[in-house]
Amino acid sequence: MLGSERGVVEEWLSEFKALPESQISSYAATLHRKKPLVPALYKVIQDPNNELLEPVCHQLFELYRSSEVRLKRFTLQFLPELIWVYLRLTASRDRQSNGCIEALLLGIYNLEIADKDGNNKVLSFTIPSLSKPSIYHEPSTIGSMALTEGALSQHDLIRVVYSDLHPQRETFTAQNRFEVLSFLMLCYNSAIVYMPASSYQSLCTMGSRLCVSGFPRQQEKRWKEPCGRVVLDPDFMVQLLTGVYYAIYNGQWELGQEVLEDIIYRAQLELYSQPLLVANAMKNSLPFDAPDVSQEGQKVLKVEVTPTVPRISRSAITTASIRRHRWRREGMKARKDKAQLSISAKTFVKKLENISDNKAQEILEEKKYIAALGICVQDPMGNGSNVSGGDIYSFQTPRRSSKMAELASELAQTPERSVASDHSKCPEKTAKPPQSSKHSSSNKVQPMSKKKEFVSTTPYRLRKRLAASDSHLESESEYSASCSEEEDEEDQQEVSTVLSGQKTSGKTKAASTPHPRNSLAKKTKEEKTSNLAEEYFEAHSSSKVLTSDRTLQKLRKRRLSQETLHDLLKRAPLPYAADIKELNQQHESMFSKWMLQLHLGFNIVLYGLGSKHDLLENFRTSLLHDSVHLVVNGYFPGITVRSILNSITEEVLDHTGTFRSPLDQLEFITKRFKEDSSLELYVLIHSLDSQMLRGERSQQILAQLSSLPGVFLIASIDHINAPLMWDQAKLSLYNWLWYETTTFSPYVEETSYENSLLVKQSGSLALSSLTHVLHSLTPNARGIFRLLAQYQLEKKDNPSYPGLSFQDFYQQCREAFLVNSDLTLRAQLTEFRDHKLIRTKRGPDGVEYLLIPVDVSTLTDFLENEDEDV
């Protein structure tokens, strides 16, 4: 960079700072007269290592932010160059040096998305309707009204194109980059008439460089700057084309045509239909030679073809668009009103909460609120009642209706009564199991139903709830103790019965409570069958759950480990072993038939209760011993389609190669099986409907595999909804024959993989893998891991713990003398990551967080073990 240019730029930088507010407009008028300034600025921008770049960017942003529109345009003219430099640097992964340009672009974007009042701008454009008069035409002159508005709207010719609401952006990410850039190009295009020729030129060069860089076509170009491929977005390309279109007719005839060709080339390669369409239209409408550009300063063509230019939306105001505008504003207003309403409702809720503390004497006051706010009351009441059961009770009843006031005295007795029942209930509950079992000893057939009445309280709650009006359902605290909830329930029951108009005295009701409850339950049971659907929605209507709050913690041994469970079950004899054996023998007699049907092109699927693992094993050992077969344990947690296909290609077909995708692999298998008709493969899949295999893609691949002539599939399904996995197409590929094989044998294998409920997650597998891997590492690495584990354990109570940020971790490691640079730490982390010992994720602020993906207990065990070792 020449010294003189540097001087010009520096002078420009200092000049504006000293400028008083009043002289800005005159300064703006003179700015374009400084001839050497613009080329010098271009030079600065093009050189990412220039130390002037940052002040220049800052200065450009200042200019853009000023109220003077000419200063804004001065900044805008550099936009193409800025975008090019920015995208080039992004593509070259040299992120560090484009920070100021990125900031400038984002600044302009964030300024542009909002209007003066700070609201989001909505750019809209209505295509004038032919049937409505506008400044362009008079409908009566068209004559035939075949093109009515209705007819046109069917062909979506009348449409308001909104440039939709753009959110504010803090950083560039891969997702939003082109959204921002397209919008910036749109801003540029809307001011393109005012741009100087140099800006058009830079626009054209930017376009062709962006499109061609990294592609073979670059070789034909004069410029030879090395640059990687730049990812482009179709919308951005369309915006680019809009600008280029203007430039072609305004002095950049040759450059413009070149960039047009380049864009077509790129769009063809990327298969972007929209830019292709626009570019081809432009190309086909080009005149044979350049338009006359001799008169300097006269703009030949106004950009009116593109709907996205806001200038047009200003000029093309038709009645329809006005109507739409008005409507929209009104809509906004209405929305605001609604918001205010909701705010007032919220404040009301707050007040209500205060009231509830102050209890009954303020009820009258509260009633006034109710009267004042009418319908709004009902909802906030539910939300606001974060109070104990007793409060709700005394609080709710007067609210329900004024005529219920007379019942108040009656209801006042209920606390006593409920306390009494409370006492009687709690001991009863603990004593329940013995009672019922003793009872059952006398009467053997009955115990089922007896027990249900005592122990399984859940159904009654449900039923009671069904009977009770649901207005007070949500007013129950979720984690109240079991007994208090009981009492609560009782009260509510009472309320509901009272409300339903039974004006019996409280005492008689207290005495007769058990009976109505039972009869109620019976009645609901009768009704139950008739309206299952209603019941379903009833049960799912609220998020509240009415079950007792007892937890397994109260039991002595809440969780058993897998081994103890196994041992215990071994001791328990399997009932009906003889019958089950007989059942199995029945199924086994079908083996030869299965074989035959497999050979005839059918595949066999087994369903029914009980594990079919042993049955299939028997089938395998008895009939398949001398043929090639593949057994797939679908219930194995790590099973994937890929592993199934791999074992076919690698072990059955002896192929040593890798495949790009499962589809390729399947294609290969298909080819091999079609070529060689002597190839035969029996595939046995236990639990075809397991978690890992039930996906649509997996099933598709397996179905295709099973449809091969040499592949015989026999599979079992267990899940009740398993047949839903298959649509017609898959079913026809599978060509199933269904066999019911109810075996009643326990699902030993299928539930053995530490994924079942109630079984203690011993995590022994994860633990042993942890220790094994760590033993092979250096002491320093182990220390690093320990550090992370300890930190994670300290934070175990925080459920939203995101992990340890890398910087903090580095700091800690340094303090412990474990690493000396962040590079060493990163190297260690890579090692951990490879062994899946840690997981990294980026937080919302872009910081890297490290996490050990094992549960707390395993981690504790691990640390204890480590301590022993050391």
Partner: protein
């Protein structure tokens, strides 16, 4: 080698022993079943040859059905790019060419059957019009790039198929997958067509001579509805840019209705297409043809019984509309029949029958004697013959042969008469016996059709047919009977022809009848009083009843009665015939079980009603509920039905242990402790995790130690 492992889910077993041939193995399977293994080989061979015959027959039928459609398509294709052939450069022509010629093929909802149609379509086109055909499916084309990749791959492959000589350049293109674009496709097309152009003088391959100089590229979208709109739109827009360089033709396979094109594509895109609609045969007609050609024919000895046919038709009508599945069911019937019926050796063509019957073993003879229909037959014979049939194998064999031949003849006659009857019933109002011949067929197979009410009413209706209809029907019947192979119908045909001539003679006498009617009309017109009118009408009615029938009416009665007699004679249900078990397959339960299974019901029965499967006295209990001795999972299931959306595990466990302890040790005092026995706890855990595996519950985070119930209305 065990297949249980904690590190691996797939196990391959490769025996070193030499594999046996497939057919032998299958024959072995046939023989493996209990008893009656002597004829298994023969049985298997018969089965296979029969099935192969049926298969080829169905394929032929389908080809014939598609022929019309294919012809139309081919003519469309040849029209679509005729201008392109002439290489006109006129502007209007070029504008017209912006539109891509498109055929919308409405195929119906049975998507799985389409594969066959498309395969025959592409074969047909390949033979007649163009070697360049690409078949695209939605599942392969999630994006426009995948679509282009697939398209180019297929096109270049067919190029390789046509000309396997020098294909280095195109192989190179297909390897470089990232460079799939329209321009490379055009380049490829140009090079290909140029090559064929230059080769045409020295014609080596005859196949290419059938193509034009620049054959169109046909792109078939098999399932248009499932394509992403974006992909379709992009593809259409891009390819319309190049339509003047690349003669592209699109074919959309549509399952629903042609409107879907406009719903999927906006106006701006669909205006780039020049769409012509083609309708394929509806699947119901397709099925009718299949039934007509497979079942109502004497070509195959194997026949379907009524129930089985009903099951197959129901699956078709209520489940899938898929002819393929119907044929699959038919195949299963064949296999099942030959597998389960030892006497199915005799289910063969008449020519082989004698030989097979004479070579029957004693065992097989016993099998014949055990057949219920044969037993019924024996009981009707006089005692001497009874003894001979039951004791002498040779006599039995002769008799069997005769009976089987009778059965074949019966079937032939049955079909012919059935068709005649269908001619009559299919034109009656409201179709009391069904519109389709398959309905009639089922009705006739089910029981003696002349005893049904529907038959009664249809005869009544037939007695009211007018003359012209009657005459045309009779003529149709004559044609049917003449074309049938049965020889018994000579007399019948003569009789029918006689009826026809009688009808012609009636012409002259028609006037008289008209006179009568006119006179009565006049009488009616005279009196306008309501009471009198009613009276006269009543009188008229009486007089008409008592009145002597006209000649036409008498003749009509005669015809209908004759048809009725034919029906009574020939349309006897098959299971009334002796030895029908050999030719007719009628175990519908097997079919329903294997084709139309209900896994949920099975699970439900097993859980609710375990004694259905486990024949144990202990499980018996009254009132339909399960006893407390049922397997653990049943008890746990039963308990969970009592709960709402969430189930508290502790409550559940307690309830379970109460039930189980009550069942096991009625008077033990272990229950005094609050804690649950370890073994019971373990059993509970097992049962709950099994329920989870079966999908009845799932763990829930909503509340501690709760599970969510996933089914509703399970009790």
């Amino acid at each position: 080698m065990s297949t249980c492992s904690v590190s691996k889910g797939c196990f391959v077993f490769k025996p070193s022993a030499k594999k046996r041939r497939l057919s032998q193995r299958t024959a072995g399977d046939f023989g493996n079943r209990s008893g009656n293994s002597e004829d298994s080989e023969l049985q298997f061979l018969t089965c296979r040859s029969l099935w192969n015959q049926i298969k080829s027959e169905t394929e032929k039928i389908q080809e014939d059905l598609n022929k019309q459609l294919l012809d139309n398509l081919v003519s469309f294709l040849s029209r679509s790019h005729s201008e392109f052939q002439e290489k006109t450069t006129e502007w209007t022509c070029r504008m017209k060419f912006r539109e891509i010629p498109t055929a919308a093929l409405v195929l119906g909802v049975n998507v799985t059957d389409h594969d066959l149609t498309f395969r025959s379509l592409s074969d047909f086109l390949q033979n007649n019009i163009t070697p360049y055909i690409a078949l695209l499916e939605a599942k392969d084309c999630p994006g426009i790039k995948n679509l282009m990749q697939k398209l180019m791959g297929q096109l270049m492959n067919c190029y390789v198929d046509v000309d396997s000589l020098e294909d280095e350049d195109c192989v190179q293109v297909s390897q470089n997958r990232t460079r799939c674009s329209m321009s490379s496709l055009i380049k490829w097309y140009k090079s290909v067509t140029k090559k064929t152009d230059s080769e045409t003088p020295s014609q080596k391959r005859t196949s290419s001579s059938t193509y034009w100089q620049s054959p169109p590229i046909v792109v078939i979208f098999k399932d248009m509805e499932s394509f992403t709109t974006k992909v379709l739109q992009d593809f259409i827009v891009i390819s319309s840019q190049h339509i003047d360089e690349l003669p592209l033709v699109l074919i959309f396979g549509i399952a629903t209705s042609p409107m879907i094109i406009h719903r999927l594509l906006p106006h701006s895109v669909s205006s780039l297409l020049c769409i012509e609609l083609f309708q394929s045969l509806s699947c119901k007609e397709h099925l009718s043809t299949i039934i007509d050609k497979l079942l109502l024919t004497d070509q195959f000895p194997f026949k379907l019984g009524e129930k089985v046919l009903q099951v197959l038709i129901n699956i078709f009508l209520y489940h899938d509309f898929s002819v393929q599945n119907f044929i699959k069911g038919f195949q299963l019937c064949v296999v099942e029949h030959f597998f389960s019926q030892p006497l199915s050796v005799l289910c063969c063509q008449l020519v082989d029958l004698k030989e097979r019957v004479t070579s029957l073993s004693h065992n097989q003879c016993e099998n014949i004697r055990r057949l219920p229909s044969f037993r019924r037959y024996v009981e009707k014979q006089e005692s001497g013959k009874q003894i001979a049939l039951l004791t002498t194998d040779n006599f039995l064999k002769e008799e069997t042969q005769k009976l089987l031949e009778d059965l074949h003849v019966y079937h032939n006659n049955y079909v012919s008469v059935l068709r005649c009857l269908h001619v009559f019933t299919s034109s009656l109002p409201k179709y009391p016996l069904g519109k389709q011949i398959r309905d009639l067929h089922c009705a006739c197979l089910e029981n003696q059709v002349w005893e049904t009410k529907e038959y009664e009413s249809s005869l009544q209706l037939a007695r009211m047919l007018n003359k012209s209809d009657l005459v045309t029907m009779l003529q149709q019947c004559v044609e049917i009977l003449l074309s049938s192979s049965g020889k018994e119908f000579d007399k019948t045909v003569e009789k029918l022809k006689e009826f026809l001539t009688q009808f012609q003679n009636l012409e002259a006498e028609a006037f008289q009848e008209r006179d009568v009617s006119i006179s009565s009309q006049k009488e009616l017109q005279k009196k306008t009083d309501l009471y009198h009118l009613q009276k006269t009408l009543l009188e008229l009615k009486e007089s008409r009843q008592s009145k002597k029938l006209t000649k036409f009416e008498m003749l009509r009665f005669e015809v209908v009665d004759y048809i009725d007699s034919l029906v009574r004679k020939y349309l006897v249900p098959a299971d009334h015939r002796t030895l029908h078990e050999i030719l007719y397959f009628n175990t519908a339960t097997v079919l329903r079980e294997h084709l139309n299974a209900a896994p949920r019901t099975a699970l439900h029965t097993a859980l609710n009603n375990p004694q259905w499967y486990l024949k144990n006295q202990a499980l018996k209990c009254d009132g339909g509920s399960i006893s407390n001795k049922a397997p653990d999972i049943c008890i746990v299931y039963k308990l969970h039905l009592e709960c709402g959306r969430l189930i508290n595990l502790v409550d559940w466990l307690e309830a379970f242990s109460t039930v189980v302890t009550a069942a096991e040790e009625p008077n033990a005092d272990t229950a005094s402790s609050d804690q649950v026995d370890d073994i019971i706890h373990a059993r509970f855990i097992r049962a709950v995790s099994e329920l989870e595996l079966l999908g009845f519950i799932k763990p829930s985070k909503q509340k501690t130690d709760h599970v969510a119930r996933l089914t509703w209305g399970g009790c």
